[in-house]
């Protein structure tokens, strides 16, 4: 560019710039070993890490546990088993992408399911109304988290640690710590168990709940990658101050993220009634931590702004594959928990190793 207008202003020492070397920097291509190549490949495609781990673990357990593991029925059963944690992991991912954390997802879901059960079964409201109110309560509970994080400026960890307990207490109060029995749901509001139903394709049994999980991830993938709002979520998680200066209403985006996560918890509540078959206030007590595990194994950075929403779906499936494979191989439950613990640590260590490479 340096047009004539700018030229007279140039300072003496800059005269030589016109003669400067214009070639692009080139470096000796040092021989790369396999590990370096792998590291580079994974750096460019971080989502591939959980996918590769999933593929390897399926093949490995196929050898260890044999045909019982590798059957269409068992693989679809794994989908069913992880569906609720998977949906919660989708909600959790949204919050973690903004560099937050939501410890209340599980409690929020159980509270919403108790509300759906109370309204639909005990008060006898039409099931769609009960479910709709459950969704709204889930979203409002999420919005409360968002409000406390943005307006009261409390750390997400503290806010959701508090609301986790609050939602749990409310759920015990509303339910009287009593489950709503399966046959009562069938009699009053069978729609509540919709997501427990399934279709059979060649021995594989796909529940509507597992399809719902895949659908939710697909929708969120679209929203995060193909809409402006999704880009804002990443920008806020990446560098909140920069996003604010770049003209994003960061507080509003954050409240929306927490509210959407709450709504997804509400949807998970409906699916959970179908999966369990009853409304149980004492169920899913560890769901929040399991959802975080799935997100971390799925390669989403806890520092925000990085990772694909597809990762946690794969992460949830990895956990399911490990549990199923180890169980079929006759390993005690405690070793399943042991394995998932190591898996989480290894996943984060891998993540650090991949990020270390310079692009």
């Amino acid at each position: 560019m340096s047009d004539a207008g700018a030229a007279p202003h140039k300072q003496d020492f800059e005269e030589v710039l016109d003669r400067s070397d214009k070639s692009v920097a080139a470096f000796e291509g040092h021989e790369k070993n396999l590990m370096d190549r792998l590291q580079h490949f994974l750096h460019g495609n971080p989502t591939m890490v959980p996918v590769i781990v999933l593929a390897i673990s399926i093949i490995a357990f196929g050898f260890i546990a044999g045909d019982r593991f590798f059957s269409a029925f068992n693989l679809s059963l794994i989908m069913q088993q992880v569906s609720i944690i998977g949906i919660l992991a989708a909600a959790q991912s949204l919050v973690i992408l903004t560099a937050g954390i939501d410890l209340s997802v599980g409690a929020n879901m159980v509270l919403a399911s108790v509300i759906m059960g109370n309204l639909g079964v005990q008060l006898g409201l039409p099931a769609p109304v009960a479910i709709g109110i459950g969704f709204i309560c889930g979203a409002l509970a999420g919005a409360l988290n968002g409000f406390l994080v943005t307006k009261v400026r409390l750390p997400p960890f503290i806010v959701t640690l508090g609301t986790w307990n609050i939602f749990f207490a409310l759920n015990l109060w509303l339910s009287g710590a009593q489950s709503i029995r399966s046959q009562d749901i069938d009699a009053q509001a069978p729609l509540l168990k919709f997501f427990g139903e399934s279709i059979n394709i060649g021995g594989a049994q796909f529940t509507f709940g597992s399809m719902l999980m895949v659908l939710i991830f697909a929708v969120l993938w679209y929203v995060l990658n193909r809409t402006a709002w999704g880009r804002h979520v990443y920008a806020v998680g990446d560098d909140k101050d920069a996003a604010e200066l770049a003209g994003i209403r960061t507080s509003r985006t954050l409240v929306q993220v927490y509210a959407l996560a709450g709504l997804v918890c509400g949807i998970a509540a409906w699916a959970a009634i179908g999966r369990v078959g009853s409304v149980s206030p004492q169920s899913f007590q560890e769901a929040n931590l399991q959802s975080i595990t799935a997100v971390v194994i799925g390669g989403i950075s806890l520092f925000g702004g990085r990772g694909s929403i597809i990762g946690p779906l794969v992460g949830a499936l990895i956990v399911g594959v490990f549990n199923s494979g180890l169980r079929l191989a006759g390993v005690d439950v405690l070793w399943q928990v042991f394995a998932i613990g190591w898996l989480t640590i290894i996943a984060v260590a891998m993540d650090q190793w991949i990020r270390k490479v310079s692009a």
């Binding site: 340096s2 047009d3 207008g5 202003h9 710039l17 193909r226 809409t227 402006a228 880009r231 003209g247």
Partner: protein, 260 residues
């Protein structure tokens, strides 16, 4: 003066606790000019710039754009009014692509059903515009407009931020220390870019510590000292050492300059 200033500030005050960052500061920017703002560290330059770019709200005083009183509650409002700022921190999201960053907060949507109802981004269009603007302003030759900003060098990042401001600014462009982190070559490009933007008729506010740069591109120099405007000097009538003397308090400013 017969020409009306495009952007003025009168009596701006901003306190942070007991620290007074702005103490009844005034500011005038005329159409088509490059106004440099210089001052010692802690003189309140950045606070002044933040006030006119909407990043903070002054406690007192008023700001007028085109003669109209404005009260920006956020950078977004200042931006909508046509004031674009290149912040010292650049305000780029490292993990997002160059195109995503250029259009952050003002993304283009696809036409028709997909854009209107599915809110789909028009990525092709945004990438095309981003590539075109970067080439047009000759700042960098980037192979891949989709690469993350964190993979760029400091100079290239600066370039993206400057091009973003130049693309979308319609009234005023503010640059806070645009050459501070740059090498000789990159600084030259940014200075050329400032001339380029000026030749399109857009006024520029340039905050800088670099006296040669300031004296090269500025039409007028606003000297900021102790939270307020000390004087405005003409770079053709004053030397660099005069400017430094005024801003550090080593010398009293000339009487006529205090009014200008």
């Amino acid at each position: 003066m017969t020409v009306q200033p495009i952007l003025t500030a009168r009596g701006l005050v901003k306190r942070y606790g007991r620290v007074v960052a702005l103490n009844h500061a005034d500011f005038d920017l005329y159409p088509g000019e490059v106004l440099a703002v210089i001052g010692d560290n802690g003189a309140g330059k950045t606070t002044l710039i933040k006030a006119i770019s909407g990043a903070i709200r002054p406690d007192e005083g008023e700001i007028r754009l085109d003669g109209q009183k404005v009260d920006f509650r956020s950078p977004l409002e200042a931006r909508d009014a046509g004031i674009e700022t290149v912040h010292q921190t650049l305000a780029l999201s490292p993990a997002l692509s160059i195109a995503d960053n250029m259009f952050l907060g003002r993304e283009l949507r696809k036409p028709g059903f997909r854009g209107r109802w599915l809110r789909a981004l028009d990525r092709d269009k945004m990438e095309e515009v981003a590539r075109q603007k970067l080439n047009e302003l000759g700042l960098l030759t980037i192979q891949n407009i989709r690469q993350a900003v964190e993979t760029l060098s400091g100079g290239q990042r600066q370039g993206v931020a400057v091009v973003r401001a130049a693309t979308f600014g319609s009234k005023v462009i503010i640059m806070d220390e645009p050459t501070a982190a740059l090498g000789v070559k990159e600084s030259r490009k940014v200075l050329d870019l400032i001339q380029d933007v000026k030749s399109r008729g857009l006024p520029i506010v340039l905050i800088s510590h670099n006296m040669p740069h300031v004296f090269e591109v500025a039409d007028r120099i606003h000297v900021h000292r102790l939270g307020r405007r000390l004087c405005v000097i003409d770079p053709k009538k004053h030397t660099m050492s005069d400017a430094v003397a005024y801003m550090t308090g080593a010398m009293e400013p000339p009487v006529e300059a205090a009014v200008a």
